[in-house]
């Protein structure tokens, strides 16, 4: 499969919205690093973000809210937060 910026952004949003947990996000990123093709026009960008996500379960790498914001911005998106009643 070919991983695009949009697909990567979608996965980050799933994590932020707690649709997937960190271990599953990391597992997905590792598998993409192993075999997936990346969108040619943004190859290095996708690779570098994905590589960091795949290490997010290591304390000295991690994945903070600021990291997510930064990655999404580089992927061409900005985040707008809204409150929703629980």
């Amino acid at each position: 499969m070919t991983l695009t910026k949009t697909m990567l952004a979608d996965m980050l949003m799933k994590y932020i919205n707690r649709d997937i947990d960190l271990p599953n996000l990391v597992d997905w990123a590792e598998k993409m690093m192993m075999e997936a093709y990346f969108e040619d026009s943004s190859f290095e960008l996708i690779r570098d973000i994905l590589a960091r996500i795949g290490l997010a379960d290591v304390r000295e790498f991690g994945l903070t809210w600021d990291d997510c914001y930064d990655y999404l911005h580089k992927l061409g998106y900005d985040i707008k937060i809204a409150l929703v009643k629980a």
């Binding site: 590792e30 192993m34 075999e35 990346f38 590589a51 795949g54 290490l55 290591v58 000295e60």
Partner: protein, 89 residues
């Protein structure tokens, strides 16, 4: 058919070379790696070993601390063994 196979091999190799900028020849294949910087001077490597058909035979992460010591390995393929801390760490 042979041409098609050679094209696929070439594609896979080009992908690996682009994804993992570092490489070395192995007796029966190649080893590729990508270095990633972490916080506080830590770094990691993604390492992919392939056979002569450019098929993945091993894929793992190495984690190095700020002094360059290997402190952890995460073997992902062929078996996901999770993170293993090095002895003495």
């Amino acid at each position: 058919m042979l041409y098609f196979c050679k094209c696929l091999l070439g594609d896979k190799r080009r992908l690996n070379e682009k994804k993992f900028p570092n490489k070395e020849k192995l007796p029966d294949g190649r080893k590729y790696w990508l270095e990633v910087k972490g916080r506080h001077g830590w770094k990691a490597r993604y390492i992919k070993e392939v056979n002569d058909n450019e098929e993945t035979v091993k894929f793992y992460q190495e984690i190095y601390d700020e002094t360059g010591n290997l402190v952890e390995v995460h073997e992902k393929f062929p078996l996901d063994k999770g993170h293993s801390k090095m002895k003495g760490v």
